[in-house]
Assembly symmetry: C2
Homo-oligomer: 165 residues x 2
DNA sequence: AGGTTATAGTTTGATATCAAACTATGTGCC
DNA sequence: GGCACATAGTTTGATATCAAACTATAACCT
């Protein structure tokens, strides 16, 4: 029960060179949600990252593009909240999307501080490919979680994001 | 049902300056495990980060110190696997822990490439404080998840970390 | 109108992370 | 022994992120 991820075993060598495998002891980490949440997220993110790189987009682009497409005219600050990251992290991302012609950005007339973001036609094409790719990823995750627990699992994830102070 | 996290609402201003709140539309992100996993993890991590900073340690130090304490003599590569990160990420972390006297590092005689890591007495004291802090964090998460679902939730997280390709 | 305070976005500086190249050491095979 | 390959750890370069300081604009109050 101590083995958690592939390759986390310890290997020792005895006097005659024979290999002695020892399991890593995780102690309290074994049952702590925070640690296991991090591990699951990082593995899943890495997997998706590899997938999305095949079509030449970083994994972070995906949520950003979807949110702009679904909320035409959204501002960068609104986007950063929806996306759960600081607005300053978004500056280079949006810049890149605009530079590559996937997103367009207009100053609002009413409030000249804020921009309105919209996905271009090219952006929609890219988003379609990214979405297909994300669906494949989701199918893998669904297979691991199992239909029976999926809904409850999602609810709990949302609850954590919303309520952890 | 579209509202997911605090502060993600959109605000528009009408002609007379009245505020019009619109919910953000998450589209497919709403039901995708990958996105929600990321959001939950990031919120939880941020919360723990604030907590652990109060005692002057980054959040990443905690798992690292625990793993060394529970597996005396562990090598850096083994540690990086157990911790789910690249061995190169560990170099500065271990360096810092050694410099501050929390961890000690000895070359192995049998294999002069590898180090053995051990927690010092001072490291144990720090770990005790960190563990208390982590337990408080876990209590909050447990409260959000609820006793009934906690075990299953943990199992699924482990399954994801282990099986996602 | 003019001063104060708030907000949208950018810049800057710090941290964490990975991946690939690199160094030093160890193992296997002839 | 000596060459080819493997492994432990470090270095380097790229990316993503946050937080705080900053700029420009807007809103609010008297």
């Amino acid at each position: 029960m101590a083995r958690m991820t592939n390759g986390s075993g310890r290997v020792r060598r005895g006097k005659k060179g024979e290999t002695i495998a020892e399991a890593i002891r995780f102690g309290p980490l074994e049952t702590w949600v925070g640690f296991n949440l991090r591990m699951a997220q990082e593995h899943a993110f890495q997997a998706f990252s590899r997938r999305s790189q095949e079509i030449g987009e970083g994994p972070g682009r995906f949520a950003t593009l979807t949110l702009i497409a679904r909320n035409p005219g959204i501002s960068q600050t609104e986007l950063s909240h929806a996306n759960g990251r600081d607005k300053s992290s978004l500056t280079p991302v949006v810049e890149d999307l605009v530079r590559r012609g996937l997103v367009e950005r207009k100053r609002m007339r009413a409030d000249r501080r804020t921009y309105r973001l919209n996905v271009t036609a090219a952006g929609k094409q890219t988003l379609t490919m990214l979405t297909r790719c994300a669906r494949r990823h989701e199918r893998v995750l669904d297979g691991i979680i199992g239909q029976r627990d999926r809904k409850r699992f999602l609810q709990i994830l949302k609850k954590i994001a919303a309520e952890v102070e």
